[in-house]
């Protein structure tokens, strides 16, 4: 626990010193195991103009287990569960692919990268992924409508 806190503090300082584009972070408590995240939809993406709130939860045995990232703002996306949890489960967020040398920053940048380009081959919402692959126009229409409705 103490070990985790030290590392988390270090990472927080690093991110603060060199804030990534389109991402803001705000630890909720003093112990820093939960962070409020805000990601703005990248300009060139269909999520442009939206601001998405996310919750980052760090496990007590961090960094040996990956952080948990979930969308608090509803989003129409093949890699985010379409429920009240807004969970994500892909790439380095999976415990078999996570390495302790991975950083929170990489996780956040991956999340923003997914707004740029969803990954339909590792989807949690298979029907949205199907639509993304086969009927992109319809996908974009719904996604944009949701941005307007939920992410403004």
């Amino acid at each position: 626990m103490a070990q985790a806190a030290k590392r988390i503090t270090r990472e927080y300082t690093e991110i603060e010193a060199n804030p990534p584009q389109g991402i803001t972070i705000q630890p909720i408590d003093e112990d820093m195991f939960k962070w409020n995240i805000e990601i703005t939809g990248p300009k060139e993406s269909i999520y442009a103009g939206g601001t998405f709130k996310l919750l980052l939860t760090l496990p007590t045995n961090y960094p040996f287990k990956p952080p948990v990232l979930s969308f608090q703002t509803k989003i129409y996306h093949p890699n985010v569960t379409n429920d009240d949890k807004g969970s994500m489960c892909l790439g380095i967020l999976r415990s078999d692919q996570w390495k302790p040398s991975c950083k929170i920053l990489a996780v956040l940048e991956m999340a923003r990268g997914l707004l740029m380009e969803p990954n339909p081959d590792d989807a949690v919402e298979t029907s949205i992924a199907e639509q993304y692959k086969n009927d992109k126009a319809a996908f974009e229409k719904t996604a944009k409508a949701w941005v307007k409705q939920y992410a403004k």
Binding site: R10, N61, F64, S95, K99, P100, S101, A106
Partner: protein
């Protein structure tokens, strides 16, 4: 009498066969004629039986060691590296050797054994070191790195490996903790870093991946059983054979799918059937009682109001609930159906009847399947009671322990036959109607009747049981012979691929 013999011989285990061979050898010297007789009676393998061996944990470890040493002597590499290579190649020894001969450096690199792997694993203390994982930079911190040079403090390294082994059950593919580095953490590193009980678990997991990687091996699925069954049957053969094996722990299961003994039903049908039952059985009963299908799109509809004017939610077809005919033909006779004789209505009812018939058909097989499943569970209780009965019988009738063993034998046969009967119903559900099916159903009926008769003998009061010994033994032998006949016949037709199923067995 002949059925009795069959029963007895079936009870013999493989070991006992071997003993038979041995005693045959002795007999040979005395009397050749007698030997021939014995030979004739010696049972040959039945159509539903497969060849298999049971290995213990130690044997599996030893088998790995032999292969590791063999590869080690061929490739001229240390054992530990050969172990990693073999695991990387999923124990396909020949492929490994061939690949290694062609491109040794590539093979080593891919398996995470890049250059300089051989150096011994040691902890080091470095000046000005800061661990990237825990951000600790105390002086005198012990650190560790494999040859890839990604160095972390020993505590973090250890914790990383431990969590991989303990939480994820990973062993042969633990990578360096550094993002993007796929060098495998070998057993030298494990020996150096982790405590012995976790090291033990690591070895166990390695052992397990060996069994998982080898298509001819399968763990016995019984709880706490550590035996491995070795059988040559491949998944591609499962449409023509049901490879049932018995572990040394006495658990009988299917080598093809790992499910408990499901003779005579092939794996694919078992899978389909279980899925169907999981989805359908309860629902099917309710649907059968409470709903009708839309005459146009066959969607199932529950009537939830008083009006007979139904509109299907799905296809918008409007029809009358009572006569099932289209609603527009009803003209002005709202809420009152007087058109029962009309053709369109009767066609719709035919359609309805067909759909109902298929549901009823399913329920017919399901209820019988479920009944035997349930009875088999009751038979387990019966077995416990039998043991008590055996004790009482010994004291009340003065019979010896060995003389009351027939009760236990009967109880075992009963349970096994119930198990078989249960699966005959799943099997029959997928059969098309033809002569073979009729023969199968006759066999099924004979076995079922025999089982029920034997089962009823068990209901007898204990004081009469002793007198029924002869009858019980005869019945047991008969039941068992019925089971063998059914399994034998079914397996033969299956091997010839002559059963006509309503589903494709080769998908």
């Amino acid at each position: 009498m002949s059925s009795d013999d069959e029963f007895m011989s079936d009870q013999l285990s493989d070991d006992q066969y071997e003993d038979d061979d041995y005693s045959l050898g002795e007999l040979e010297e005395d009397d050749d004629r007698y030997l021939d007789d014995v030979k004739d009676e010696k049972p040959s393998k039945k159509a539903y039986e497969v060849d298999y061996k049971v290995h213990s944990d130690e044997q599996i470890r030893a088998a790995q060691q032999i292969q590791i040493e063999e590869v080690s002597s061929i490739l001229g590499l240390p054992g530990e590296q050969c172990a990693i290579l073999l695991r990387f190649f999923k124990w396909q020894k020949d492929r490994l050797i061939e690949k290694y001969m062609d491109t040794p450096d590539e093979v080593l690199e891919d398996a995470g054994l890049g250059p300089g792997y051989e150096a011994p694993a040691v902890l080091e203390k470095l000046k000005g070191f800061s661990c990237e994982i825990c951000c600790d930079d105390e002086r005198g911190l012990e650190t560790y790195a494999m040859k890839c040079g990604h160095r972390y403090c020993a505590d973090c390294y250890r914790q990383y490996i431990e969590s991989k082994i303990k939480d994820e059950g990973e062993a042969s593919r633990i990578e360096c903790p550094s993002e993007g580095c796929s060098r495998i953490v070998g057993s030298k590193t494990i020996d150096l870093l982790v405590p012995s009980e976790i090291n033990h678990r690591y070895r166990e997991l390695l052992n397990r991946t060996y069994v998982d990687d080898k298509p001819n091996l399968r763990w016995c699925p019984a709880p706490n059983c550590e035996y491995v069954v070795d059988c040559a049957i491949r998944p591609t053969q499962l449409h023509s054979i049901v490879p049932t094996v018995q572990c040394s722990c006495s658990h009988q299961f299917c080598f093809g799918c790992g499910y408990a003994d499901h003779l005579p039903c092939p794996c694919l049908l078992v899978k389909k059937w279980l899925k169907k039952c999981e989805d359908d059985s309860e629902t099917a009963n309710w649907i059968s009682a409470n709903t009708k299908e839309c005459p146009k799109c066959v969607s199932t509809i529950e009537k939830n109001g008083g009006c007979n004017h139904m509109t299907c939610r799905k296809c918008k077809h409007e029809f009358c609930w009572v006569c099932m005919g289209p609603w527009q033909e009803h003209g002005t006779s709202w809420y009152n159906c007087n058109r029962f004789e009309e053709k369109s209505g009767s066609e719709a009812r035919d359609q309805q009847a067909k759909s109902r018939a298929s549901l009823e058909r399913y329920l017919h097989y399901y209820n019988r399947y479920d009944n035997h499943d349930h009875s088999a569970k009751l038979d387990k209780d019966l077995y416990v009671k039998t043991e008590k009965k055996m004790t009482t019988l010994q004291s009340s009738s003065g019979l010896s322990w060995i003389e009351v063993q027939y009760l236990e034998a009967a109880s075992k046969v009963l349970q096994q036959c119930r198990q078989t009967l249960k699966w005959t119903y799943a099997f029959a559900f997928y059969l098309e109607r033809n002569n073979l099916t009729y023969i199968f159903e006759d066999n099924q009926k004979d076995l079922e009747m025999a089982v029920e008769t034997l089962s009823s003998l068990f209901e007898m009061p204990t004081d009469q049981l002793a007198n029924a010994k002869k009858e019980m033994m005869d019945r047991t032998a008969y039941v068992n012979s019925r089971r063998i006949i059914l399994l034998e016949d079914t397996a033969k037709v299956l091997a010839e691929e002559n059963w006509k199923f309503t589903v494709d067995l080769k998908q």
